[in-house]
Amino acid sequence: MGEVIVVTSGKGGVGKTTTTANLGTALATLGYKVVLVDTDIGLRNLDVVMGLENRIVYDIVDVVEGVCKIKQALIKDKRYGSLYLLPAAQTKDKTAINSEQMKQLCGELKKDFDYVLIDCPAGIEQGFKNAIAGADKAIIVATPEVSSVRDADRIIGLLEAAEMDSPKLVINRLRPDMVKRGDMMDIDDMIEILAIDLLGVVPEDETIVISTNRGEPAVTDKNSKAGEAYRNIARRITGENVPLMNLTIENGFFQKLKKLIGLRDS
């Protein structure tokens, strides 16, 4: 029996879909059987981030309505071993599914998969309620910004109310240079405010944009810092003890020189 993990955040644009795609790919690369479920009905994107948009035949709403079997709707990603995607519907809205149906679907999926990763839509309405309905665990994605942290706090409260096991935090898009000059909250600040366990920290990294452009998750890029961070997080999910990667920047001679002449390193 597998595990259903929902990736949520409250606020949009903080990296839920990117996180789901990368963690799923990393877990599949580690040899686990993984299915990614896009619950953002009406605004599906996990398919394009994964580069599988041209292979969709059926979607989650078709499955729930009995139009097709689960297996018919699952898209196998041949690149990364045992990775599958259950896409969201694009032409319907969040009310096309209810929480009870979602619970049943998750129950079915975890019979066949080691990990069921659910990409949650932004917001706290029906889409969110559906996404968490069948989940055993939750990953909260938050960026070090006031709006994101505030929304994450609200989500943590709602998960608590839904009696969800202690959620884990992924800090996304951290910029060590800004942290260093006191212009961005650091890891400790975020943990202190949100009071939940840390699962990992992903640095801001332009390789994410590039890999999303190509439809190939950054975890497959050995030179991507963010990819490395996601690979570490995936290993922590499997229970391995992996130390946080070193994100501090050395204050070398050139950086000092750049600062002196007014150039900021970014």
Binding site: G182, D183, D189, K259
Partner: protein, 90 residues
Amino acid sequence: MDIFNKMFGKNNVSSKTVAKERLRLVLVHDRANVSPQLLETLKEELIKVISKYTEIDNSALEVSINNSEHSVVLVANIPIRVRRSMNTVC
């Protein structure tokens, strides 16, 4: 860096400290599910009730939600008007 900041007249408080402080305050309200409007209503009603018993300084009355050690507390600061020549209580 400090010298540079001072030279260019930068604010000494780092923006992350400001962010943390603002978050702390807004989260206290969010978590307690108490909006500033609700506090204002509460304040008005408190004034009504307490005024029945004693004279208070309405303008200086403050009601706020604070984070103490491990709990969230509702704090009301209610200055009472004191007169030297007190009438006998009937």
